[in-house]
């Protein structure tokens, strides 16, 4: 089935899969967003405990999606993996450390003899929510604005890449457009976090603070997101010639992509409208289904943005330092054999999503109550 597809078709297929994983990751970062709200939405120990336990039953899903996103990117576009992770060293290290401290925080937070105290682990959760979201968003911003790397053949007799900026990736935060995406992701994660908590935690006091929190995060989210999208429509992009592989700058590249990829544009619009509809439900109606709409909208929007970055002969990881080093789905992918083998594996994805959905549904039908926190055997 897959072996008969052209290399380019497989490259496109895998860019879609990577994009879906990226989109799911941004949605699932509601856990991170929620982690930054544990003091805002909960003012007493009992509420805070419910809130942390609600998030704590989902954190591993986000974490695993991040790891799988990295793994799938490695398998399908290994040149991105080696160029970006090795080059933008400090950004990735910072992101990773923020997830390392998260991984222990839930489990160790309320255990006796945890050495550093409850507050420390709650601070870990907060830092992960703050840095994880902003830095991942900023890093994805470089998919549109470019990064400072060079790909060359000849170093030690083989092909390699190196970074051409001493800040090793941290320079991405100097670009307002990158940071705008990072902050948009941060505020969106907080919105989703608040909506999830509203849906999952049974506490009148917490519920009474949701609306205010939603408004406070929606305004900056819209500002940063709109700035990001509008600026994107007017900026130059990195296009490549599919015949020669040569990269050149193209004015209004992303606007062209919007116009030339109508299906994707429809996806983007549908995503944005769903996010807004969810926000409307959450803010004005206080509906718990708001989480589903905004969540689904987030997935569609991010998916469309990824496709915008990589399809239509666009370099998804442009080099601002050396134009011809820019990575696109053709020049950075795995071989036909590997993509074919991996495509067979990808048939598992719907099955995986199905059992995740089923388990989520089984586990989250009932809200988390104070009573459960007092009696259950495993509580964070």
């Amino acid at each position: 089935m897959f072996a008969n597809l052209s290399h380019y078709a497989l490259q496109q297929y895998w860019w879609v899969i990577v994009s879906v994983l990226g989109a799911l990751l941004v949605f699932l970062m509601f856990v991170q967003g929620g982690q930054t709200l544990i003091y805002t939405l909960a003012r007493n120990d009992s509420d805070r405990r419910m809130l942390i336990n609600a998030l704590g039953r989902k954190w591993e899903l986000t974490f695993t999606t991040l790891v799988t996103f990295g793994g799938a990117f490695f398998a399908s576009f290994p040149l991105f993996y080696s160029t970006s992770f090795g080059g933008a060293y400090w950004v990735w290290i910072a992101i990773l450390i923020s997830f390392v401290i998260q991984a222990v925080a839930y489990e160790y937070r309320s255990k006796p003899a945890n050495v550093y105290g409850r507050k420390t682990f709650e601070t870990f959760l907060f830092l992960n929510g703050l840095l994880g979201t902003i830095l991942i968003g900023t890093a994805v911003g470089t998919f549109f604005n470019g990064a400072n790397f060079v790909v060359e053949f000849g170093h030690q007799g083989i092909a390699t890449s190196y970074w051409a900026h001493p800040a090793h990736g941290l320079e991405a935060v100097l670009n307002l457009h990158n940071v705008a995406l990072g902050l948009a992701v941060f505020f969106l994660a907080r919105i989703l976090g608040a909506l999830f908590i509203h849906k999952q935690v049974e506490s009148a006091e917490v519920a009474s603070r949701i609306r205010k929190s939603l408004i406070r995060n929606t305004i900056p989210f819209l500002v940063f997101f709109l700035y990001f999208v509008i600026h994107l429509m007017f900026k130059d992009g990195y296009a490549y010639d599919p015949e020669t592989g040569l990269v050149s700058m193209e004015s209004y590249k992303y606007l062209h992509n919007i116009l030339q990829m109508p299906l994707n544009t429809a996806l983007l619009l549908a995503g944005v409208l769903l996010v807004l509809y969810g926000l409307f439900l959450g803010i004005f109606k206080g509906k718990e289904t708001a989480f589903t709409f905004t969540g689904l909208g987030t997935v569609l929007t991010v998916l469309a943005l990824f496709l915008l970055a990589g399809f239509n002969n666009t370099c998804y990881y442009p080099s601002a330092h050396d134009l011809q080093s820019s990575l696109n789905i053709r020049n950075s992918s795995s071989s036909h054999t590997t993509l074919t083998a991996m495509s067979w594996v990808s048939l598992l994805v719907p099955f995986v999503l199905a059992y995740i959905w089923y388990v989520w549904w089984s586990m989250s039908r009932k809200k988390i109550t104070k009573e459960e926190m007092d009696t259950d055997s495993h509580v964070y």
């Binding site: 591993e60 899903l61 974490f63 695993t64 790891v67 799988t68 990295g70 793994g71 799938a72 490695f74 398998a75 399908s76 290994p78 993996y81 080696s82 160029t83 992770f85 090795g86 080059g87 060293y89 400090w90 990735w92 290290i93 390392v100 401290i101 991984a103 222990v104 489990e107 160790y108 255990k111 006796p112 003899a113 945890n114 050495v115 053949f153 000849g154 030690q156 007799g157 083989i158 092909a159 390699t160 890449s161 190196y162 970074w163 090793h168 795995s334 071989s335 054999t337 590997t338 083998a341 991996m342 594996v345 990808s346 995986v352 388990v359 089984s362 586990m363 459960e372 055997s377 495993h378």
Partner: protein, 516 residues
């Protein structure tokens, strides 16, 4: 010919070793205790005896503490292939990335999805669904071990791929060759069975402590029976697959095999060294810096038999592998180095010819490259044999510590099983104390196994094709030094919390079931 920044290389290796060893402190327990928990819960569901539920939940709590920090150290490990070994990822990413992605899709999601049910689902899902989830956590975690070990085995025995000079990287030729390589299967089985052994030692050790203190006797004895049977199966599996592993190494990585045995000079019918001391050779004329082993306690002809199933077979020593042994058809390393240099030059010529659109020159270069590619990695070495020999003392002693402790565990499991069945375990103070003390030694044995595997294969990151020194990311050594110390501080701080919490939970003991 090539310049290398050895400060960068050493710190990058140090950082990877640090991360891998910290990660491995937590992984084996996860691999084994999840099965033990699944077995215990199965007994609970079958018998309906709430005592078994209490037992299941107790070990589950300890597992949860261990699991969190295992996850924390694991994420760094996965991304370190990119952050610190980016040239490696470039050179072999086409093959190496696939198992990592499959690990995520097939194993990690299974593990994390059902772990939530396992911990929080007691009152939210049915008994059967819960039990299934517990089994799926065990299967998921072991599946993840499968894929990462397939990746590791491929580095030790690169099969199923072909070098593509156009992309200047190795590309997958046959997925099944990579997945079903005997090295991969053996490594997987050896690793998981050793993990079952460690988990059994852990459970027995803690149970023994309860018996010594006269607490939770029912829990302790029941746990001991399950764990000692599981442990016996585990340790016999470890020994069997270890034997297979040794044969793999003898064939595919003879230098590692010679280092494991401290075998300086090869011969027919080699004895197996049970014990001995590694010393520097007396003869100063000796050009090989290989160490010699003295005061050997040996088993006649056993090594030849182990390696080739023939008590008279020739096993090459370090010197044979460096200087060559014409009689045995072993080429001297100088020849391989020369061949490797031709391959590297041919690749450069191919690239140049392509740039100039000189097809005939490109074809000639390509043909030459294919002929010499087998020894590509040797081309990075000058005629300095020292760099081609792994640390003999580290490999030699680690191997003996691992095997020796393994033998001890056989005895311990058997005795624990015997006395527990006879109902006299609580009176056997010696064995109880030994079981408690054995816990750290199980970890030591496990670590030593990885030292043999990973130190023993140096200087190769991919056997014969890529030396460790060409795999590193091109960044400043100071950056890696900084992150190394950051990781030391973070991992150690977390480890301290982990041990403290674990010890406290053991002291607290199982919770009495309330209401559910």
């Amino acid at each position: 010919m090539f310049e290398f920044d050895y400060t960068l290389i050493d710190w990058s290796r140090g950082q990877f070793a640090l991360t891998a060893m910290y990660h491995w402190l937590f992984v084996p327990l996860t691999l084994g205790i999840t099965f033990l928990i699944a077995i215990m819960e199965t007994i609970y569901v079958r018998t309906g005896n709430p005592e078994w539920k209490k037992i299941t939940k107790f070990w589950m709590t300890l597992f949860g503490i261990n699991f969190a920090i295992g996850v924390a150290t694991g994420i760094i490990l996965e991304f370190e292939f990119g952050t610190n070994w980016s040239q490696y990822s470039w050179f072999v990413g086409d093959i190496f990335g696939a198992p990592l992605a499959i690990e995520g899709i097939m194993a990690f999601f299974m593990e994390t999805t059902f772990i939530a049910v396992m911990f929080f689902g007691w009152n939210r899902v049915s008994k059967k669904f819960h039990l299934t989830s517990t089994w799926l956590v065990a299967i998921g975690s072991n599946l993840s071990a499968l894929w990462i070990l397939v990746a590791n085995a491929w580095m030790q025995d690169p099969v199923g791929m072909k070098f593509n000079p156009d992309t200047a990287r190795n590309e997958m030729a046959n997925f099944w060759d990579v997945f079903l390589s005997p090295m991969a299967i053996n490594k997987f089985l050896h690793t998981i069975t050793s993990a079952y052994t460690l988990s059994a030692v852990f459970v027995i050790g803690i149970s023994a402590w309860f018996l010594l203190k006269g607490r939770h006797q029912m829990l302790a004895k029941k746990s001991m029976i399950v764990a000692s049977i599981f442990g016996l199966a585990g340790i016999f599996g470890t020994i069997g697959t270890g034997d297979g592993s040794a044969r793999q190494v003898a064939h595919k990585q003879p230098m590692k095999f010679a280092a494991m045995e401290g075998l300086a000079k090869g011969k027919n019918g080699v004895n197996l060294t049970a014990l001995g001391f590694v010393v520097n050779p007396d003869n100063p004329d000796d050009t090989i810096p290989g160490k010699e082993v003295v005061y050997r306690i040996e088993i006649p002809n056993m090594l030849s038999y182990m390696a080739y199933l023939n008590p008279d077979a020739f096993v090459p020593g370090v010197k044979d592998l460096i200087n060559g042994n014409a009689e045995q058809g072993i080429p001297p390393v100088a020849e391989k180095i020369a061949s490797g240099k031709i391959a590297i030059q041919a690749l450069a010529d191919y690239k140049e010819a392509q740039k100039n659109q000189n097809d005939s020159a490109a074809l000639a270069a390509r043909t030459l490259l294919e002929k010499h590619y087998r020894y590509f990695g040797y081309g990075y070495f000058e005629n300095n044999e020292k760099h081609l020999i792994p640390s003999i003392p580290l490999t030699f002693y680690s191997f003996r510590i691992m095997v020796g402790l393994g033998m001890l565990f056989v005895l311990m499991f058997a005795m624990v099983l015997l006395w527990t069945f006879r109902g006299r375990m609580e009176r056997k103070k010696f064995w109880l104390r030994l079981a408690v003390i054995a816990i750290p030694f199980a970890y030591l044995a496990s670590m030593c196994g990885w030292i043999v595997a990973e130190v023993g294969r140096q200087p190769w990151v991919i056997q014969d094709l890529m030396p460790t020194m060409t795999g590193v990311t091109r960044i400043d050594a100071t950056a890696v030094q900084t992150t190394f110390w950051m990781f030391v501080v973070i991992f150690t701080s977390l480890l301290i919390a982990e041990i403290s919490i674990m010890v406290k939970q053991v002291k607290v003991g199982p919770k009495e079931e309330g209401g559910n």
